[in-house]
Structure formats: C-alpha cells, structure tokens
Symmetry: C2
Subunit: 175 residues, 2 copies
C-alpha cells in the first residue's frame, strides 16, 4: 500500500468544506512510518545539515524521527508560552486572526543549516514563521520537508516566491 | 559529556521552587539525542512491542524517534480537542484542577503491546492517564519509558503501586 493510501481523509474537519488529511493512520502503521522516515533520511543523509527543527506538534514526531536517524540535534519550534528558556517569537496570520511560534534563543548557532520539518504544507504560514525564527537566530533553512503538500491552498507557491527549497512525499490536489 | 549533564536546569520555572529539567539542550546536541535514542532502542529492539505511544508534546519527539528506529507504528496521545477522528478521553488530576488526554479510538487493536513514552516522570499523573487510554482500547502497556525521573515527586512510587514497568535514563533527586 502506498504512503498516500495510508493517509485518512476526514471531510468537513475542522470545519465544513475542509478535507482534513490525517497522517495518524499512516504513522501508526510501522511499515508506513518507517518508509516515510527512510525516504527523508535517504534524501538528507548526505546533505549539509546541522540541525532538524520540527514545528509543534506533528512536526515533532516526523522531525524527531528524522533527527534520530540522521544523528542530528532536534530543535522544537513551539506554540506560545511552551518553552521554558529565553525565546523569541514570530507572529503570523491565520484565516481569522493571528498566531505565534517560538524558539529558544540558544537553539541555533549563527551559520547553522537547518532542515525544517512539518507533517503538512497548506497555506505555508506556519512554515514561513518557522523559517523566520531560524533566520532571526542567524541560521539558514537548508530545506523544508513535509509528508503532504496541498498545492491548491497556495503554500508551495508562497515558499517558491520567498525562495525556499521544499520537499514533500505526496500531494492532494483539489483541496 | 553525560546525558544528565546535557540537561539544563531552570530554577523557579514554571513557578517558584520548581527546578525545571529542560531536555531541549540534550536533544539539540546530535550526539546526545542519538545516545538517548540508541539506549532506548537497545532496550526495546528484542522486546515484544507492537506500537510506540508518545504523550504530547515532548513525548512526540522521543517516541517518534524510537518508533522510527524500531520500525514500529507511532500513536499520539494528545491534549483535548487536537485529534481529528473519533477519540476517547481520560481526565486526570493536576495540583490545581484537572486535565485531559485523548487517543483515537482506532489507534490500538485489542491485545497490542504498547511502549508508552514521555520525556519526564514527575507525579506520574500524565503517564497513568496515557496508560488508562491504552488499556481502554484493549491494549497493554508493555513498559513506560522516560529520559528523566524525579523520584522525590512520587511518580515512580505511583507507577509501582499500579503495577507498571518503567524505565528511565537519568534521575534528579531532591526535586
């Protein structure tokens, strides 16, 4: 069974009209999860990467597994008020209102090359906020990695406009 | 440098009198993170385990990496309202008030042996709530794994009283 077929679609979640792509059915499958991680590790094992940063919360699962396999350090990028040490934050726009992501000030050294990981690319707002935090600390986003891309929601285009490299394993068009 | 020495202590966080044991300094160190994961994988690779369950959010990082290395499926145990599919919840007591954890109803098959992972064992309330969810779905907690144990806070004693096996890598006494 393919990676794509192991992802569950939940119609009208979190609200009407949204087809939610649920990766929990993929990652609870030992072979499926391992295949995902192996594909990323194959791509990144020979690349010049210092750290893996994962975006809370599903990015922690995927990013943690990639970092562990690559033998790289892992950096959590978290929702507001979750990090215990001195942090910087970056606000970004949602459909209604704004949200914030935070990173520890000492998470990244100047010049570090960071692989930014999340489960899914939709509008790109979260990924761009994560990248802004990495760069605010003097790091460089080597690439952004996602399991799922929803190209019709516009994130891919936005990342391209901003000059970021990205990689995804499957895409759902028409979302 | 030892695993313990890579863990940062933040005094008076999140409130006065608490010595917060911050694992972000350990896991941002590639060698430190890999050593942690290798120790767990060495312990669990020959054990009869079907799934790894991680408790949100730091348990996702550690549990995700262990599951990836073992080639086992990963199950997220999440805070209220975060899971997209049908879920069951378990309420547990905090120092003041209560909190809830949730798991997807189809996360675990009857008879599955589950390794339950979190970064730190303190009072044991969260770990016991996670175990209750695994068991409510017909699973068995094969063992609970933590990086850090704070034995003076009472969690270890509680897990023993409830008959759970647990394993931790380092402990901080006097907390």
């Amino acid at each position: 069974m393919s990676i794509k077929s192991k992802i569950r679609t939940i119609p009208d979640y979190p609200k009407e009209g949204i087809m939610f792509r649920d990766i929990t059915t993929l990652i609870k499958d030992g072979e499926g999860f391992r295949e995902v991680i192996d594909l990323f590790v194959e791509r990144y094992k020979d690349l010049d990467i210092d750290l893996v940063a994962g975006i809370e919360a599903r990015g922690f699962i995927i990013g943690g597994a990639i970092a562990g396999m690559l033998g790289k350090g892992f950096i959590p990028i978290r929702k507001t008020g979750k990090l215990p040490f001195e942090s910087i934050s970056h606000e970004y726009e949602l459909e209604y209102g704004t949200d914030k992501l935070e990173i520890h000030k000492d998470a990244i050294q100047k010049g570090n090359r960071v692989l930014l990981v999340d489960d899914l690319l939709a509008t790109g707002g979260t990924a761009l906020a994560g990248a802004a935090l990495v760069e605010a600390l003097g790091g460089t986003v080597a690439e952004m990695a996602f399991i799922v891309d929803l190209p019709d929601v516009g994130g891919r285009k936005k990342l391209e406009e901003c000059g970021y490299k990205y990689h995804f394993l499957v895409e759902f068009e028409g979302d």
